[in-house]
Symmetry: C2
Subunit: 389 residues, 2 copies
């Protein structure tokens, strides 16, 4: 096990009707806030009215910023920064999924950064402070509600980049599983793939003696695997929603990396895909992760055997490790298919004519490698995209 | 799953040599602190010198309070409160195990409480504020390094009582597994029983649909079960120490209760034992927990079957649930025996002549019941002590 520091001070407020506590939580920080959300869905479901009522009851002024899209854009972040500065706003409330939360985090950093916030995304500068952010979560997927990261797409060149700092962990996350009842099945499934990918990125490590976190990863994966099919049958199954939603937070709040070093190649390879084709990040991961596994499993076959046996209950003879490992990958792929996700570029209607370009961007023109479990160069990434065809 | 709030902001600083970072962490809070520890062991191991050096390098003044004993006493807490007040101390550094940390937490509450701190332990008053506490952990057991609780014994009547509040969670916990190398095997084993008991108290719940936390509990239990025997063989096995130490924190930082209601009868029944006989809390739990299980398993046989199958790999025919449940309990008991712990009062050299008195105290003269999974009255508790004979 490696040395580690771990702190996740986000207060989780979980369960039915918890959205009505938002005003009471926000007023601990501010009485003039920015309220960020995506489109009209929170108005259709009545969530918007509940939030506004709770803010008003607590005498909190708010300025709205709406229109956040999946794979959220830098231009909206810059607009938010400008509005916050002009109005002396010192707290940002994100009502939505990962795109809304990541936009809020990027604004929170940008408001207090003296320069172009994109500098931080490209490593030219670091995060020294950020406004506090609060969350009402409406999608179980990115784990951004308690994570130290945010991912934004710069439309100028379609670069998709992430930032990381404990300073951008939200102060609180209100999580009511009922708010997810109206999600289309495809979004629920794509969210589940994202959650599973967050766990698997951590699971495939070269660090030895990580028994506890291995088992916590397996526990969280199994919970998602058992409960998501129930949601495909009945989107209003409260308990299954609750299990998947809480699993989504645990998957990405940092607990599952303690003492280990994750891989993250699949995320980077997928980011190029969703930056160009604007498909759901989770769907992209369902395509890339199995392809990555098929390409790298020989690097540490025992780890893939453990994954197959413990997570997927593969019960083949231990005589043939490779057969067990491949069966585990196959079951992952079948699971993604069973919940309606694409597992190839073709399934997603993407032809393969920009593979070279994506591999190029992913490795900064072939200058860097990607991933920790196996360090992949540009040719490796082209091979993985080709396996995913 | 039940609604819940969860926040654990304790910063974990885990791994080799991390004790040298203590001064740097403390100075974020204070430059005049109380340093609390037990006896001479931290001096023998050299830890004391490292701590003092780090404090001095960071220009932090300290006043020492030593002599904390297992099942820590109220008199020392009151002494600490007095010293802190007289010296305007605003931070408490606990170097030790649960007894030292709990003493520090009780002092931290008492300094800012206008009255007798025992009022809070007996429910006459509540915690409204507390001084910040930091920890260097030297024993994996109580989980107090990140928990919201502290247990103190009042020598006036030998009452052992606990307090709970997010305000007493430590600010940071420095956890170097190497600091545990010199622990006698019996203490390592008793600590492991305490960790396992913290998980099992949460595991046996009447709340339905708690799949994720069930699995996280099982993952953490299995890690302890796999790694503690390695420490009985080799107390300096770094990786096994690290696994058990981190499991001890996860077991009791509140994550494993999210959405469920734990039992806690065994802890209360054991507290009466260790309050009178001054045996190690973990050893007491190794005696009481199996007895409690034998008394209550029929209340929810499926939960005991899950425990037996998933945690202890019991592989009997599912035709006979009771046989599976009992085999799980038997394996728990055998495990405790295998690491040198008592599993009966007789093993611990305790005769049964004060059972009535303990049951009386535990139920406040028969006026209250104990436990949530099954609510136990005084007669039930007498029966459990008798099973444990």
């Amino acid at each position: 096990m490696e040395n580690f520091d771990f702190v996740c001070p986000t207060k989780i407020i979980f369960g039915k009707d918890t959205e009505n506590r938002v005003g009471e939580e926000v007023k601990k920080y501010s009485n003039k806030i920015m309220l960020i959300y995506g489109g009209g869905s929170i108005k259709r479901t009545g969530l918007y009215d509940k939030v506004i009522n709770s803010l008003k009851e607590n005498h909190i002024e708010y300025i709205e910023l709406s229109g956040v899209k999946p794979n959220p854009r830098l231009s909206l972040v810059n607009e938010g920064i400008k509005i916050c500065r002009e109005n002396n706003i010192d707290f940002i409330l994100a009502v939505g999924g990962g795109s809304v939360i990541d936009t809020a985090k990027a604004i929170a950093v940008g408001v207090l950064y003296d320069g172009d916030v994109w500098d931080i995304f490209i490593g030219k500068s670091v995060i020294e402070k950020a406004l506090p952010v609060g969350v009402i979560l409406t999608l179980a997927a990115t784990g951004s509600e308690a994570s130290d990261s945010a991912v934004i797409t710069n439309e100028n060149g379609w670069y998709k980049k992430g930032i990381h700092s404990d300073l951008i962990r939200p102060q609180f996350a209100i999580m009511n599983p009922e708010l997810l009842y109206t999600l289309p099945p495809y979004q629920t499934a794509a969210g589940a793939a994202d959650i599973m990918a967050h766990i698997m990125e951590r699971y495939f490590t070269n660090v030895r003696n990580v028994d506890l976190t291995d088992r916590l990863c397996e526990a969280t994966l199994k919970t998602v695997i058992n409960n998501v099919p129930l949601l495909m049958e009945d989107p209003k199954n409260y308990n299954a929603r609750a299990e998947v939603m809480w699993a989504g937070t645990i998957a990405h709040n940092g607990l599952l990396d303690t003492g280990r070093v994750g891989d993250w190649a699949s995320h980077k390879i997928e980011h190029e895909l969703s930056a160009i084709y604007d498909i759901a990040h989770g769907a992209g991961l369902a395509i890339i992760f199995p392809a990555w596994m098929k390409y790298v499993y020989k690097h540490d076959i025992n780890r893939f055997v453990q994954f197959a046996v413990r997570v997927w209950n593969v019960d083949l003879s231990f005589e043939d490790s490779e057969a067990i490992a491949l069966e585990g990958i196959k079951r992952l792929e079948s699971f993604f298919k069973s919940i309606g996700l694409p597992t190839s570029l073709k399934d997603a209607g993407i032809n393969a004519d920009r593979i070279e370009e994506m591999a190029d961007k992913c490795t900064v023109n072939g200058k860097v490698t990607v991933g920790q479990f196996v360090k992949l160069n540009k040719d490796d990434i082209i091979n993985i995209y080709n396996i995913a065809k």
